[in-house]
């Protein structure tokens, strides 16, 4: 699993990293992963996938996600998740 050490942070980079993880690690087909595709509410990823995705986001973007911090909507598509990560990562930088 590639780290993002020193990588410039922008929404496209985050989205690409997330897509790469979903395809390489979770075995989701690339054609299912449009930026706005709904991942959780349509069943593309299930509970076990979600646990792995949360761990990936935390490990690779330096975030700690608490129970009520994030809504399903924010984790439900690549573009919303990338926005969330960008927002939180930047906020944590000050």
């Amino acid at each position: 699993m590639a780290g993002l050490k020193g990588l410039p942070l922008d929404a496209d980079t985050i989205q690409n990293e997330l897509r790469k993880f979903l395809v390489d690690e979770l075995g989701i087909e690339e054609r299912e992963l449009d930026p706005a595709s709904r991942l959780i509410t349509t069943g593309i990823i299930d509970s076990m996938d979600m646990l792995m995705l949360v761990a990936f986001v935390e490990n690779n973007f330096g975030l700690t996600i608490k129970a009520l911090d994030v809504s399903v909507e924010e984790f439900d598509s690549l573009d919303r998740l990338a926005e969330f990560v960008l927002h939180r990562a930047t906020a944590s930088l000050g």
Binding site: K66, S71, A89
Partner: protein, 576 residues
């Protein structure tokens, strides 16, 4: 600050992150342990409550507890069943063995399943089933007319289903439909702006509630006003970085909402019995209480995350009290309700919502009440005497395999058609009132696996649970099992705080976990053949049907007997 602004700043500032990808957050073992403890605690509380309040009926003869055999005469004291529970509708199953048949006094053939059989030893077995209305406190049993006296050797009694009566019952529901109809011309003529329509929605439901349940209406209004102020304060605290303060406000608001639900939904029985309905004050369950609370909780969590700071009290009241969805949902989110506002319906658009309402009414009357009601409960114009469900409830271990297999499937179908009929009516009325409401069902009986089933069945509640229980529980515990069990327990206990619903939740959560494990082991990329998809549909339907052994039957032993025999019969058939 909106996320896109952060992105713009980053593009100019080129912020780099330096994170060690191997760093892992500490595993929240303590949260997992707490969640398991909560599940265990719920189980213990339910078992204790069932023990304390489970058997709420007793037999009496000549003022005391009967000892068998006893002699019942046509003119003397009857055998009496006394019901001690509060305002409930109950399905009662009874079996007496004696020298002749037993009969309810006065005889009510219409609402009673009744079977008389001569046994080998010369005695006569009478099986009875009847519905006890919320106001009925006793039922008497005597020998049939023409028989002076009989010896009764034994008498068994089971309350197999007990449902809390709602205030006003069907009369209140009927008036709610009238309220919806009355709102349509007002909204169509004057409701171009959502502001006016929102006042109409809130005021009409509150007026209806004040008529049927004045105390609850005032309590609910005060609660909603308070929760709205609290929520906005919570959202502002989140935005201004006062996280601890926002968390405390969420706990206060959420705690109040849950207390409201606990007292109104689960506690009113005890209150009703304690105070014996003082001054005619209705203390039965307020209609729609679960739906009010569930909408409030959803909005509170959004406020906690800093969303919806622009929601006025008017809009909040209209959302929670929207008349078309007061009684049985669907459970829209506040952003969904806002987005769904389409404005007054024009004459050219009036056809589809009216068709939807008529479709719901036809489904409810023809398929649910007449056809399935007749088959299952032996009621209505095409009733099967005494009804499949009554036959199984009389003797779950002795009834034929065909009947034990058929019952759960028919119960699932009954529940699906009944609830989707209500949803059709609510969605049709919503559109006539200017709001496109979320759908509640999407052919769950065609789901090819259990996860898909739950994405198609009661979708607004499933979505609520996914947002507000499953996701937070997953993040808090980082465990695959606990969130599934907590979510299904929330769904089950939302229906009734009873052991059969607890078992229903275990059944579904275990099924979901096993399915997820199997899918991950099988691998994602393998396409399923058409035959496997069909097999999946059959298996999913069978699994969901088996769960209905618990959903329809309040007596745990009876429910377990049906559930066990259903699976054993299926396995036996499979071996043949």
């Amino acid at each position: 600050m909106p996320p896109h602004l952060w992105a713009e700043q980053l593009q100019t500032g080129s912020v780099n992150i330096a994170v060690d990808a191997e760093t892992k957050p500490s595993a929240p073992q303590s949260n997992t342990l707490r969640a398991w403890s909560l599940i265990a605690l719920l189980f213990i509380v339910i078992v204790l409550l069932e023990g304390l309040t489970g058997d709420r009926s007793e037999l009496r003869f000549q003022g005391g507890k009967p000892s068998f055999p006893l002699i019942l005469s046509a003119t003397g004291a009857p055998l009496e069943i006394h019901f001690k529970s509060g305002p409930r509708e109950e399905l009662v199953i009874a079996e007496g063995i004696g020298t002749t048949r037993l009969q309810r006094d006065p005889s009510r053939a219409k609402d009673a399943g009744y079977e008389v059989r001569s046994l080998d030893d010369g005695t006569v077995r009478t099986r009875l089933s009847f519905r006890r209305s919320p106001t009925q406190k006793t039922v008497s049993l005597r020998p049939p007319s023409g028989i002076e006296a009989m010896r009764l050797d034994s008498f068994d009694l089971r309350v197999v289903k007990s449902t809390r009566a709602t205030i006003g019952g069907y009369e209140a529901l009927g008036w709610l439909v009238v309220v919806c109809f009355a709102c349509i011309p007002v909204v169509c003529l004057l409701g171009r702006s959502p502001v006016f329509s929102q006042w109409v929605f809130a005021a009409s439901t509150l007026t209806w509630m004040l008529f049927f349940q004045p105390a609850f209406a005032l309590a609910l209004l005060a609660f909603l006003v308070f929760v709205h102020r609290l929520g906005l304060e919570c959202a502002r605290n989140h935005i201004t970085g006062k996280g601890a303060s926002a968390w405390n406000l969420l706990r206060l608001g959420g705690g109040m909402a849950l207390a409201f639900l606990l007292v109104g939904k689960y506690g009113a029985d005890a209150v009703a019995e304690l105070f014996a309905n003082p001054g005619g004050l209705a203390l039965a369950m307020p209609l729609g209480i679960s739906y009010f609370v569930i909408r409030v909780l959803d909005t509170q969590l959004r406020w906690y995350r800093g969303d919806l700071v622009d929601v006025s009290l008017r809009e909040f009241l209209a959302y929670v009290l929207f008349p078309a969805t007061v009684a049985a949902g669907p459970i829209a989110t506040l952003p969904g309700f806002r987005k769904g506002w389409l404005g007054p319906v024009s004459l050219s658009e009036i056809g589809p919502p009216i068709r939807r309402i008529l479709q719901g009414i036809a489904k409810k009357i023809v398929l649910v009440q007449i056809f399935l009601g007749g088959m299952l409960f032996g009621i209505g114009p095409v009733a099967f005497d005494p009804g499949l469900m009554i036959q199984v409830l009389w003797d779950p271990m002795g009834v034929t395999s065909g009947r034990i297999l058929m019952l759960p499937f028919l119960m699932l179908l009954y529940s699906y058609l009944d609830f989707s009929a209500y949803s059709d009516i609510a969605i049709g009325f919503s559109r006539l009132l200017g709001v496109r409401m979320v759908e509640n069902f999407n052919w769950p009986i065609l789901a090819s696996d259990l996860q898909e089933y739950w994405r198609r069945w009661h979708m607004s509640l499933s979505g609520w649970c996914q947002r507000n229980i499953f996701m937070p529980a997953t993040l808090a515990t980082r465990n695959q099992f606990v969130p599934a069990y907590l979510t299904m327990l929330a769904v089950g206990l939302w229906h009734a705080f009873a052991l059969p619903w607890f078992l229903w939740a275990l059944h579904h959560a275990t099924g979901l976990i096993v399915l997820s494990k199997w899918r991950h082991r099988r691998g994602r990329k393998r396409e399923l053949s058409r035959g496997r998809i069909c097999a999946g549909v059959g298996l999913t339907l069978t699994f969901a049907a088996a769960g209905y052994s618990f959903a329809f039957i309040g007596d745990t032993a009876t429910a377990l007997a049906i559930y066990g025999r259903f699976w054993i019969t299926l396995v036996t058939l499979g071996q043949i």
